[in-house]
């Protein structure tokens, strides 16, 4: 059901809109300062899934907007959403000191921290400029709120780093902030573009929120699933950074005293100032493999995916508002794909 191609199918269904959205992104990346479009072109060619702008476009279309002459608000707002997302990615990479992003060199590895911080700021500003030309205060409010929530989520994540006593609720608040809030906002502004009803707005916001939570939970599970090394993201990134995620919290909770001693050593060591980079590579690999073994042994991947499925079910229920259609079915399949990509 759904399967690996749901996202591609959704992208294809929205092909014309996505093409127009990519054009807006390229046009608005322009600047008299050459480094800005250079970093921009690199980010565009590094090519993410563009999941967030897809949600804006899909939400607008589901509410009957798009395809008629002059109906391009959803395209512009999808570009706004992608700019905000790209800005946060650039800043995340600085914060995480990541060298890889989706299997490519990250922008900060290639252009340096300075450029990443500043081009992120530029894209963020561009997004609000573009919203101004759209002219809807409702959209501004939704996306400004989402941006603030993202930053809060990231700061909260920072303060939970290396801390095994983090409650699961706090972890869920982190992923709501860093991921689900923008998914929800992306859907909601699509409805606003379509002048949809408040009920539609609320329903698709809940859809985006559930999808975002499921997406991040699966992402966090994938960091400990070896077979996924080909997916672009480096396995073990979260582990090396001492990031607190549900697989770790579950393995910690379900672990023996010996296991807990291991987790304390590997997750809390960065907090103590002796970070993983001080270990030789072989020792790091051994630790990662032991962590993966414990996570598997304690059923922590399954527990994380179960949680993801709960959110996916909530998202699916939110779609019930809408009459059956090919697009609605593609959105439902995207949910299934999201929770199944860890298999």
């Amino acid at each position: 059901m759904g399967g690996e191609n749901a996202l591609q199918a959704l992208t294809a269904w929205l092909g014309e809109d996505m093409k127009a959205c990519n054009q807006v992104i390229m046009d608005r990346m322009a600047s008299s300062v050459p480094l800005i479009p250079q970093v921009g072109a690199y980010l565009v060619s590094a090519g993410g899934k563009r999941l967030r702008p897809l949600l804006t476009l899909a939400a607008a279309r589901l509410c009957g907007y798009g395809g008629k002459p002059g109906e391009d608000r959803h395209v512009r707002l999808a570009a706004c959403v992608e700019f905000i997302h790209t800005a946060t990615l650039l800043h995340d990479d600085v914060v995480d000191e990541s060298l890889l992003r989706r299997g490519h060199a990250s922008a900060n590895a290639l252009f340096g921290n300075q450029a990443s911080v500043l081009v992120g700021d530029f894209l963020f500003s561009r997004s609000f400029q573009l919203m101004t030309t759209d002219g809807s205060l409702a959209v501004m409010g939704i996306l400004a709120n989402a941006s603030a929530t993202i930053a809060e989520g990231e700061v909260l994540q920072m303060t939970t780093q290396n801390d095994l006593s983090t409650p699961v609720d706090k972890y869920l608040e982190v992923i709501h902030g860093k991921t689900a809030a923008l998914f929800a906002a992306a859907c909601r502004v699509g409805v606003v573009a379509a002048s949809g009803t408040p009920v539609q707005e609320q329903a698709l916001e809940r859809f985006g929120e559930g999808l975002g939570m499921a997406f991040q939970l699966v992402d966090d599970a994938l960091d400990y699933v070896a077979e996924q090394e080909t997916l672009g993201k480096t396995v073990g990134d979260d582990f090396r950074e001492g990031k607190i995620t549900l697989p770790v919290l579950t393995a910690w909770e379900r672990g023996t005293e010996e296991d807990r001693a291991f987790w304390r050593r590997v997750i809390e060591r960065q907090g103590a100032g002796a970070d993983a980079t001080n270990l030789d590579e072989a020792a790091q690999k051994r630790d990662l493999h032991h962590a993966m073994k414990l996570i598997k042994q304690t059923g922590s991947i399954e527990a994380t995916l179960d949680k993801a499925r709960t959110y996916a079910d909530q998202a699916l229920a939110a779609l019930a508002q809408f009459p059956e259609s090919e697009l609605k079915s593609l959105l439902a399949q995207t949910l299934t794909y999201t929770v199944n990509r860890a298999r």
Copy 2:
């Protein structure tokens, strides 16, 4: 004339408004994530001159707005301007790796780069949230444009770093972006808050722009004026970073072949990867003192201050639109103070 107290006098004249503005800043810094108000409180207590929000308040008052019940738009917009400024300061410190700001430990020295990037993003988002509650698309446009211009200016500055062949025009574009754009926007949104005329908007925008250019030129001069060590900013910061400023460009242009060899060695060395931190402290001090000597010898401080005075004159001319008043006179004196603080 004007003298050292002009800025304090302006701040006093706008005392009630500034108090209300500080309250909005404190209220809006609130977040369920404790680190955010912590960084915020630190920034507020580190206490800048709050020049930019003062400009918004003064512009609104000059257009007859403020003081009557319910007239608080200018206060809210002044807080928006200060949030944008604070966000860029936080990001600048990351970019510059500054340890000192206004003589205090910078936020990134105290809280780390991660917190600086993310709290900066938060404040930026808060600013747009606050604009949304104000509800003026004109204000959104002005401040979104200013934000994009600031980021462009900072990126441009980055690309001119260590490059002695930077044309003066490009340097002026940098300081327009990084400083004058927000001064201009701060004034302009004050006029919008007051529902001023387009002529008033343009006049006060020009005033802010001229003041901002003069302000940054003087700041760049002060980095090479030893007697200013007490002012908070560390003398020689720009020098150590290989920042291209008018004093350096002038001294380079007017220098002998021997002088130029010196400038190449000290300004371009960071670009070659061998940054100043590799030199011992004594050698660094010797280089800075030699740079200051050459800058003095070639009249480069005077040349920079002359340029600042030209912009200050333009700013003064823009005030001619407005009838004589105590506030207008205080703004004129602030200009004088700005260009004279280097003496």
